[in-house]
Point group: C2
Chain length 225, copies 2
């Protein structure tokens, strides 16, 4: 592992900011996310770093083996980045998993992951499961793309009506009993969800907000067609 | 539940065929799958039935609430289908889950699911988990799209080199110990995989074939960028 600028171990400057945005190398149009990219601690993962650089952002740290970019593109990444952590191609973790570890090393409580979804469903599924790593590290984390906002919840959660029409609940483990759903089109108590059943798919928030109570970890997908 | 032609309970004709193809309403270009659509028992799930009808296929059974098609499109589905099972919109399972149950009711040992992936990642993830339902029913099942072929395996599996470059292994449960991987770029024994770790992502078959031995259920993703 090579590092242009070794971390000092002391968090300072933007590492103390309220949120971190990781941009990965999947499908992503950053123009839709200007609000959350502004003033965030920015981590570019592999080709996602190029996407940030080409969109004119100053990147706090870029990580990856960068085997998906040309030499010229890598130069652009170096120019736009305060720090570049170049990983071996033969590493065990993905560029995104390493970016998540970097996000956990900052004090930001909220993490948005952009560009984590795309044509390769192995990488998409792996990214969705990484939300659990962020949850376990005490972070509120979201994977966002044009049609989806995905998070992992446990305990009591209030969801606000948004531009996403559907809300789907899928247990993180094999199954999960939802103690109560309130304010949804399909509400109820003691609802047993199995991950291989589609009972929790395509619910909708009826009013301004809705509530989920669950003692197991649940994926919450807000989505549009 | 309404049915144009109630099932007799006796499997006959194409229901005895070697494989079933379910076409769901996600992103799908059927022209890439002519080989497997030919001579298969064909199930159209909601908008997937329209896709089959418009491509000129005779559909064995179409299932769904059909809230995603117009009245004219629904007529096309009725014309192309030997049987239409119209489900209530307020049902607990998705159209795809119901189509999977229909696939299990036939004797075909192999099931291909097309159009199950797309922009809505809740539906994509739910479809991936449905592979377990098919596995438990003794079926060899695949979700296929332009970039991915996904299956669930347990025990000993031989994979043949194909046009897909990458092979990724993700445990179905929280974790899975792979007894051995042979013939892969990254081979080995007693490999502990966690679903929220990306250790199993982006492996490659080195020669003509490779072997996986695992006593836990594993998702196998073959994919291309």
């Amino acid at each position: 592992m090579m590092s242009l600028q070794k971390g000092s171990g002391i968090l300072k400057g933007k590492e103390c900011m309220s949120h971190t945005v990781i941009v990965a190398g999947g499908t992503c149009d950053l123009s839709e996310y200007e609000d959350i990219l502004k003033d965030a601690y920015l981590i570019g993962a592999d080709r996602g770093a190029l996407c940030l650089a080409e969109s004119g952002y100053d990147i706090d740290v870029s990580v990856g083996d960068f085997d998906s970019v040309t030499k010229e593109e890598l130069e652009k990444i170096y120019e736009a980045s305060k720090e570049v952590e170049k990983l071996y191609a033969e590493k065990d973790d993905t560029d995104l998993e390493h970016a998540v570890k970097r996000a956990i090393s900052t004090t930001a409580r909220t993490v948005y992951i952009l560009g984590a979804t795309g044509t390769r469903l192995d990488q998409t599924l792996s990214a969705i499961y990484l939300l659990k790593t962020l949850y376990d590290a005490g972070r509120e984390a979201y994977i966002c793309d044009k049609n989806n906002r995905i998070r992992i919840v446990k305990g009591h959660t209030r969801l606000y009506k948004s531009s996403y029409r559907y809300v789907s609940l899928i247990p993180y483990g094999d199954s999960g009993t939802v103690a109560s759903l309130r304010g949804f089109k399909y509400s109820g108590k003691h609802i047993a969800l199995e991950k291989s059943s589609s009972l929790g798919i395509s619910n909708e928030i009826v009013g301004e907000s809705a509530e989920i109570s669950c003692s197991d970890h649940l994926f919450v997908f807000e989505s549009n067609d």
